[in-house]
Symmetry: C2
Amino acid sequence: MRLLDKQEIEDIAVGAALLGTGGGGDPYIGKLMALQAIEEYGPIKLLDPEEVPDDAMIVPSAMMGAPTVMIEKVPSGEEAVTAFQSLRDYLGEEIYATMPIEAGGVNSLLPFALAARQGIPVVDCDGMGRAFPELQMVTFYLDGLEATPMVLSDEKGNGMLLNTINSVWAERLARGATIEMGGSVMLAIYPMKGKDLKRSAIRNSLSLEEKIGRSIREAKAKNYDAIDEVLKITSGFKLFQGKVKDIDRKTETGFARGTAIIEGIKDYKGQELELNFQNEHLLAKTEEKLLCVTPDLIAVLDAETGMPITTEGLRYGARCIVIGMPCDPKWRTEKAIEIAGPSYFGYDVAYTPVEKLAGKGEE
Amino acid sequence: MRLLDKQEIEDIAVGAALLGTGGGGDPYIGKLMALQAIEEYGPIKLLDPEEVPDDAMIVPSAMMGAPTVMIEKVPSGEEAVTAFQSLRDYLGEEIYATMPIEAGGVNSLLPFALAARQGIPVVDCDGMGRAFPELQMVTFYLDGLEATPMVLSDEKGNGMLLNTINSVWAERLARGATIEMGGSVMLAIYPMKGKDLKRSAIRNSLSLEEKIGRSIREAKAKNYDAIDEVLKITSGFKLFQGKVKDIDRKTETGFARGTAIIEGIKDYKGQELELNFQNEHLLAKTEEKLLCVTPDLIAVLDAETGMPITTEGLRYGARCIVIGMPCDPKWRTEKAIEIAGPSYFGYDVAYTPVEKLAGKGEE
């Protein structure tokens, strides 16, 4: 157990934006909420998964919806508390700790705000090791854990408790409700025992985010290039460097979908990168070849500051560096590729590990 | 208290189809379910509202969705029990009795099947005195009672518990979920105490349905015209007689909407009646004048048998008689006309009581 204060939250927010692969909601909002909660309630306990008792009840918390909506509809924090308490009452059991469902943007940070308000710890892990757009795209689902009972709460005071036959139905019903409720809601979801958390969660992803954020901060302070450091920490690859030339973005069926075209500069002059996203960046390719595809991670970094740029933060003319990072091995099984690989998102390419695409594979 | 056996259910089903103004789902399905439940569990207790203790918990049960879907997706009865028990567990209180939310088609009959399975009585009342397509269109809403906590259950085993800020939100979220869940679901809704039921429900509507059904049955047996008897019981008016010439029907946003054109015969030769429906018949007019409009009741009866025809049972060439009946006085206040009058459904006419349109008003 260690205590996280404001600096750690700042660093986690930067790392979360990177692992969030452009998605998971604006980390800035989540960070502000977490910082304010620390201001009010003091530092937050971070537990290693090993410190969680096997029979303790853990409830991940998350925001669901399109990031483009979240920016306009900032949550008060009350929705999360309401969702959490409703689920606790339904379970009839005290909740030992919370955790993020994904390592991405707002959803890495929101559990801290909730934990501070509830006086409970956050567990240093998540269910994706990155960000993904749908509720069943978690290691918990791969490991047979259920999304429900889960609770959705909106800022108006509407609440919904779901008990579904599987997590795909949970996604379907919650997504429909999220749209009706105005595009974003707070969730208390995937309630699980400590022993299940230990076998299923992706461990220490919050610490990894912190490490990434700290290295970018230090590079900035000491005026050296952060990219190399980030690539080392994440075992990643530089894929492209260029300037955003074109963005096509729309919010549909609760998702922010779109495409960005990046015009190459320096070593990449004369080439164009096409980035496809659906809340998160999912596929990066040039005219000639595939560079990285989901479930591997794609992040876009500001060429100057090394800071990650979210999909909704991508602006015409922005100079950026695109990197690819291998996903957790849990995402490379056949079943995992089926639920979070390229064909699930409608891209007609086979999944190939980023290190192989980069010519650094072990084959 | 009296016991209802199979004959009473048969009669109620006929009366329910009439008061259901063509909507509320196919009464045949509800009747079969109620009859089967009586076969299995014995006659069902019917309570007068006056017999319900003030502090007893009453939970209406209903099916939500488009009747056109219900025909293809017959409920097993298990969904209703699941919804009911989930709400009981949530309330933490035994449920004393159930009742229909509307006097219409399947929804008048389903509470009997549930009551038989649960060994509880049905209260002789409902929340509409007719059928309406939306959850807030009930006297309970007019009287400030809340639709939630409510539970939706589908036949697959998915369940949803809603707690909304008002009944319009309950309708909105439940409607969206119903569509996702396949077009029809079972509800346990508007939980209320006996004292609220007594001040808000439309009383003895099940007995009224039974009386209507019995009079049509007896007329048929004794070979005389049932229509006059029905008009007497319901204080109704004969509006039109003719042959269905054209039907335009579609299922959209969870409703069966459409229009039927009826070509006049006998006294009505040379005229055409236009019937507009949205699950229920809502407006009847000729080219010259309005004949009857919601919240007053419009029913279409088979010219030969006097049996009510549902909106989904309307067929090209069917010979029918259209009647209009005054709604309960609770539907004639300003607030009631606002939530269930013609302009709510998009018809650009002012509400005028059917007796006034028929030239029999007291003005």
